[in-house]
Symmetry: C2
DNA sequence: ATAGAATATTCTTGTCAAGGAATATATATT
DNA sequence: AATATATATTCCTTGACAAGAATATTCTAT
């Protein structure tokens, strides 16, 4: 999941992703819409590809980029693990503290 | 959403988040479990706080950090916009291309 | 008040990655 | 073959940021 977050952590890359939500687009279009230079767009798309967030389909000289559902699904799966905890377990904080202190006793500091 | 992605793009911060999935933890615990130095953990937690991903609850000298549901919900909302497209609209690629070319004609290059 | 424990902050240094500019590659058209 | 169009790659410079080391801050206990 780290490559995904890294890829999305760059402002222009995030803009590209949000643009592609409209549908597949060739590099030139992306550059024009976002007022970016073509080489930078190509570089960003490279990173996004490596992260599995987009995929390419050549069409003549153009390269059409589009979002890759699988990776968004993966993100969704990762997020799923966080839909449970539902915090507000603030009440159980004391409880946690006791547990932690108990652990420290038997642990010693590792190292 | 960018601050969230930026925050999660750092390996150790991502580890912290995944550790906190187990429940609230004081700084020292986090440092010990992840084999990190305390100051770095404090710094990372600062970033995570700023991104709204965690929240603090002081308890004596300790600061108990825990995940902040609201931000994960926000991420979920953002992701929701991507659950639709479902790609495989690869079939409709030609269609898209035609549209795009039509657009180019009337557009001219902006700038 | 003093000492100890837990955490935060500051300063410095090294690394990595994004942008700019130039150029290379691929495909189409004549 | 020559030229045009679309995209990719390379090299360079600069800025941001993470780690390390030292120190400051906050709270507790005696």
């Amino acid at each position: 999941m780290l490559p995904t977050f890294s890829a999305l952590a760059e402002p222009n890359r995030l803009r590209i992703i949000e643009l592609l939500r409209e549908g597949p687009r060739p590099v030139g279009e992306i550059a024009a819409r976002l007022r970016l230079r073509q080489p930078q767009v190509s570089k960003h798309l490279r990173v996004l590809s490596a992260a599995g967030l987009v995929e390419v389909h050549p069409a003549a000289q153009q390269r059409i980029y589009q979002l890759r559902a699988a990776q968004f699904q993966a993100l969704d799966d990762w997020l799923a693990a966080y839909r449970q905890f539902k915090e507000a377990s603030y009440d159980r904080l004391e409880e946690h503290l006791n547990v932690l202190q108990a652990m420290e006793k038997q642990d010693g500091r590792p190292d």
